[in-house]
């Protein structure tokens, strides 16, 4: 499917807006192309809207300990409501007001081909669930911006105070469980690999041979092949990652402004077929990428979570400098 033309249920949107305390949401909605039914319409000038960080599961004894795994998420930073405030200009604000959702890392990193350093990645998630048995399409849309921390000038280089290549990657997608399968699906912008700018889109698809290889050759780790693709799956110095495949013709120069303290809000959209479990298309800025019906990998189901629908986003460092991903607003819709 190349360019899906989708109708909008305006009656539903009118009802939604007239029940809202934010009358200018109609203006914000004009920036989006939602499917017929809106599931969430989150503007972070209003608050967190249920978006939060992902943490370990504290279910073990004797005192709420973590489940054993090679991955601990206890260093992943919390979400913030951000004014995008920097050293020289002060506050940048958001696209729809003053506040956006900020996803921030800690200032640590390993080389690309190693396991990500604890805290070098951060992850925002909202937890909802499927509502209709006949849903065919599911879509994630957001207006986002990204930058690296303007902490100090590096040694050497033409612009040692510009840190674009400190951001390794960021992405958007879903964690889903439906009909007895778990699905992690999404696309990421691979920006920098060990300091070299790459600037291409990739979609999540696990090509490790089994659970063991998926978990960096760890036998019996709790994580199953396909789950948590932003972290799991081996990586290689040339930029390959067992969790992702390249989007065809997926190179794109996004807008990274002249200094780390200038951010530009950019549009992202990902459309999925959740009836036949295929990627349909993604859009960033004014470019739409055909995802060619690439399959979404079914992972083994986890206990107690059938019906789970978690939209999510993440960002990762390429150097020991904080990376910031900002979301002005998010719409998740279906039909």
């Amino acid at each position: 499917m190349h360019f899906l033309v989708l109708s909008v249920n305006y009656a539903y949107i009118y009802t939604f807006l007239t029940n809202s305390t934010m009358t200018d949401k109609s203006i914000i909605l004009c920036r989006y192309r939602p499917l017929k039914q809106l599931l969430t319409f989150d503007v972070f000038d209003d608050g967190f809207n249920g978006w939060m960080e992902i943490m370990p599961n504290f279910c073990n004894g004797p005192d709420f300990e973590q489940s054993p795994s090679i991955l601990s998420k206890d260093q992943w930073m919390p979400m913030m409501l951000s004014t995008s405030t920097y050293r020289y200009p002060g506050s940048h604000g958001s696209m729809s007001g003053q506040y956006s959702l900020k996803v921030s890392t800690r200032p640590v990193a390993n080389r690309y081909e190693m396991m990500p350093a604890p805290g070098s990645m951060a992850h925002g998630i909202k937890r909802i669930s499927f509502v209709r048995p006949d849903v065919h399409y599911l879509q994630f849309e957001t207006w986002f911006a990204y930058t690296a921390e303007q902490d100090k000038c590096d040694n050497g280089g033409e612009l040692p105070g510009l840190h674009e290549n400190s951001i390794r990657a960021f992405g958007f997608g879903f964690d889903l469980q439906h009909g007895g399968n778990r699905y992690h699906c999404g696309t990421r912008y691979l920006n920098s690999v060990n300091g070299k700018l790459v600037k291409k889109w990739q979609f999540a698809y696990p090509w490790a041979k089994d659970d063991r290889e998926w978990a960096y050759d760890t036998e019996g780790d709790w994580c199953r092949k396909g789950v948590d693709p932003y972290w799991f799956g081996k990586r290689f110095p040339d930029g390959r990652h067992q969790a992702f495949l390249d989007v065809p013709d997926g190179h794109q120069e996004l807008c990274y402004n002249e200094t780390d303290c200038k951010i530009n809000w950019q549009y992202f959209r990902l459309l999925l077929d959740v009836k036949d479990w295929k990627y349909v298309e993604m859009q960033c800025q004014d470019r739409t990428f055909d995802l060619g019906g690439q399959p979404i990998h079914p992972s083994v189901p986890y206990h107690r979570i059938d019906g789970l629908m978690n939209p999510l986003c993440w960002v990762e460092n390429d150097t020991n400098r904080r990376s910031f991903l900002y979301l002005d607003s998010v719409i998740v819709s279906q039909e």
Partner: protein, 111 residues
Amino acid sequence: MRMFNASHLEVKKYFTEDFQTQPYEAGWASEVIFFIMVEEISGEKPCLQARVQISHDGVNWCDEGTVSDPITSKGLHFIRVSHFGNYLRLDCRVAGESPSFKLNIQIACKE
């Protein structure tokens, strides 16, 4: 109805020397409480003291002036602050002989 949000800054982490929490943007809130939960403590006369720091950019920091009482026992402790700009963090000093603290630190913001 008032706006409130709590976020973890550290969770079940052991500290044996001085440290600072990560920068947190709290400009939307007019009052903040840092909750410091000591799950485990060991060493000879272990003592932790936290001081609030503020920043205009999240990179450069100075003391705000609020300092916690010396923390020398397990259980829940807190430190509050109500006049700040945007970025907040705690600068924590760990003293004693071979001190070790297992901490949960949470920031509770209210407008």
